[in-house]
């Protein structure tokens, strides 16, 4: 049915823009700070999406993942994203 296509794994990373406050990351950092050996100077929490995309080739898969990320995975008001792979 999918003549000449295969499934590619692509990873999308979504993070809050640097100017946006990340309460989760900051709270994690503070909680870890109290535990010897777990201290970090900074923690930012983001999201990872592992997609499997059917496409003719890697470039098409990547382009599809970018569209998905832009239109569905990242909230442009708050977040940036990067696409890695396939």
């Amino acid at each position: 049915m999918s003549g000449g296509t295969s499934v590619f794994g692509v990873r999308v990373l979504v993070r809050l823009r640097p100017s946006v406050y990340d309460p989760q990351g900051e709270t994690i950092r503070r909680a870890l700070d109290a535990v010897p050996g777990l201290e970090a100077e900074a923690v930012r929490q983001g999201k990872m999406f592992e997609l499997e995309v059917r496409a003719a080739d890697a470039a098409e898969a990547r382009a599809r993942a970018e569209t998905i990320a832009r239109r569905a995975l990242a909230n442009p008001v708050l977040e940036d994203f990067t696409v890695e792979g396939p």
Partner: protein, 233 residues
């Protein structure tokens, strides 16, 4: 008979401590005191309740950051000594994250917070939450959580069931467990579990919201009676 002294733990972000305290004092007329999470000792307490809320905002994962609080050391000791340690809602998640109870919670299948009455069927009586219940007893008690979707591996699930560690299952008013009656997608409709020994127990629903007729239900009283009975025996 000496009254049982309950420690009701308070983490930053806990918000059901008052409800639990009030229920213990007025429903079963036992002693209860709030204990701040920075305490390093639970000396003088016979039992502990970890109440609901959003410890550390539930940031990272519900209940996860509470594990690093000083009070968790004496709490683990209390559990090891065989005294009763009980979790409700966020308290359940905290006890799981601390490794005192099996499994972990996923987001509800609806991906939303769910607050409403549910029906529960009691499955096992050997725990501080179920000692006074009849097996198969059906109770109506509210839930209020976003991450109550109980998960364990297949092997762990089979072991849990084998050893009778499942305390409560979501069911309908007639006591039939089913997907439709399950508010969060929990495996095997599990709403509450205990450890192997039976002294550490927790559930997602809130008996601390169903202990007076004015609140729309009194079935939570049965769980507090269990607490009293378990500690008296």
């Amino acid at each position: 008979m000496r009254r049982t002294r309950f420690a009701v733990l308070v983490f930053p972000g806990t918000n059901c401590e008052g409800d639990v305290l009030h229920a213990i004092r007025t429903v079963i007329r036992q002693d209860a005191e709030l204990v701040w999470h920075k305490e390093g000792s639970l000396d003088g307490f016979d039992a502990a309740v970890v109440p609901g809320g959003f410890a550390h905002g539930d940031y990272l994962r519900a209940g996860s950051l509470a594990r690093f609080s000083p009070v968790m050391t004496p709490l683990a000791e209390m559990a090891a000594s065989g005294r009763a340690v009980v979790g409700i809602c966020n308290g359940f998640q905290i006890l799981q994250e601390a490794g005192l109870l099996p499994g972990a919670m996923l987001r509800n299948r609806s991906l939303t917070y769910v607050c409403r009455d549910v029906w529960l069927r009691a499955e096992d009586r050997s725990s501080p939450l179920t000692a006074a219940l009849d097996e198969g007893e059906v109770l109506r008690i509210p839930v209020g959580h976003a991450e109550g979707n109980f998960h364990v591996s297949d092997a762990a699930l089979a072991a849990l069931e084998d050893r009778g560690q499942v305390l409560f299952r979501y069911c309908d008013a007639a006591g039939r467990a089913s997907g439709a009656a399950n508010p969060n997608g929990s495996r095997n409709h599990i709403a509450g579990v205990r450890n192997e020994r039976g002294n550490v127990a927790a559930l997602m629903p809130h008996p601390d919201r169903a202990y007076e007729p004015a609140l729309g239900g009194t079935d939570g009283v049965r769980l507090f009676e269990s607490l009293a009975r378990w500690n008296a025996s």
